[in-house]
Symmetry: C2
Subunit: 277 residues, 2 copies
Amino acid sequence: MNKKIGIVGLGLIGASIALSLKGKVDEILAVDRDEAVIKIAMERKIIDKGSTKPEEILGKVDLVIFALYPSDILNYIVEHKNIWHKGQILMDVAGLKGELVKTVQSLLPDVEFIGTHPMAGREVSGIKGAREELFLGSNFIITPTDKNSVEGLNFVREMALLLGVKNIFEMTPEEHDALIAYTSHMPHLLALALIDNYTQGSEKIIGRSFLDATRVANINERLWSELFLMNKGALSEEIDKIIGKLLNFKEKINKDDRIGLEEKMKGIKALKERIDK
Amino acid sequence: MNKKIGIVGLGLIGASIALSLKGKVDEILAVDRDEAVIKIAMERKIIDKGSTKPEEILGKVDLVIFALYPSDILNYIVEHKNIWHKGQILMDVAGLKGELVKTVQSLLPDVEFIGTHPMAGREVSGIKGAREELFLGSNFIITPTDKNSVEGLNFVREMALLLGVKNIFEMTPEEHDALIAYTSHMPHLLALALIDNYTQGSEKIIGRSFLDATRVANINERLWSELFLMNKGALSEEIDKIIGKLLNFKEKINKDDRIGLEEKMKGIKALKERIDK
């Protein structure tokens, strides 16, 4: 791709994007507030050029990717609004889209901002966790609005394919946030709740179901507190819904309703098979 | 090992045990009520000899392994009590131990019965799912009581090592059942509840956390209904406990308690790291 890419924030996601795009684009430039991180990125040849000063670098790139904590992105974009100009695409990779996409697009109508969510992560944060293959086989969500151009969206789609993602799905920012409470926030919250219930001696009796269900409890507490709080409404609803399901199971169990349990499990198994297809 | 092993039930676990022990013991004999299953096992050379008639086979073996549905084991042992004799070890592999171990040991004081729980499984049931490597690296639980002999327990330990298990842990049958509600029944129940909450369109936005958390929702409904119902008390308690944890998170989220959330997540992450060691 004959483009220059600028990345803001060389954490797990930003540095993994740099590694994945390396050699596939004209130039990769990066900004991080931490000089030491820039130094590591240069030494490992993760990026072509880096700086702690955005104005030195970001004016010259075709695509700026904001890979910061969700709560920092809006401030960052507004604070450096003199850098952005027509013809550039701005894109973020935060796990929540609704408020951010709406606000940036209304505050900065003259530049194009595209919301995305690459659905990949690891239990190791920061540049040390970065992996070239992080996005291989994953889902990549784009949340276009009527403020986006066909060219801008095509550019972002092309970039996502260079990352090696398996599927690119598009939906509204609002739809994204409602669904993500179910598919991502709940599994993380359940993993936390399971570990929070830790019982002395239980590590002797752990099998794969427990390990899989609690893998993500090794969590980035700043990121996930932000995601939970920024998606409060949808997540609260999901919590109530899962509690309802658990109480329904508990009732069947306490009533010795073996037929009811088997029927329920059969239905869930069929649904699971359909989802997995 | 210079021993003859008899397996009752060539389902996922029974047939995987046969495959794992193949060539490492003198002879593997098996009983299954389904003639077709015996035929498959003979053709694939999973067993040395098989029959649908337990009296033809099981009197001659040193160790009888009952790999039936939990609710069938007690009846089976009692129904065929004329086959068992002193010098033989009887062993089961069911996922619940308390009632079964106590009842068999009191009803049949003249034979030695040892409760075990090999912590391994797959989402494919029956002989078609059997794998030689099913137990590799897994935990194997033995629940000895004062009715068991040193020789009997050593025999079972030796057999477990032949299966390739990583750890052998010992605990009382009651301790096993209390802990298993937490480490195994809850992850399975949460996987079911998550899929039960399925929201239209959400398959577009699934990441690894959801896939891992719901893997076991592809469930054997008969087995898991039995396990849930037989461990009703402990499981109900765990359901109440996890609901309490979820409500605590919900409260913090709705109060915008970012510091409280981050502190809680930090504590959980530290606990998770300790458990994983």
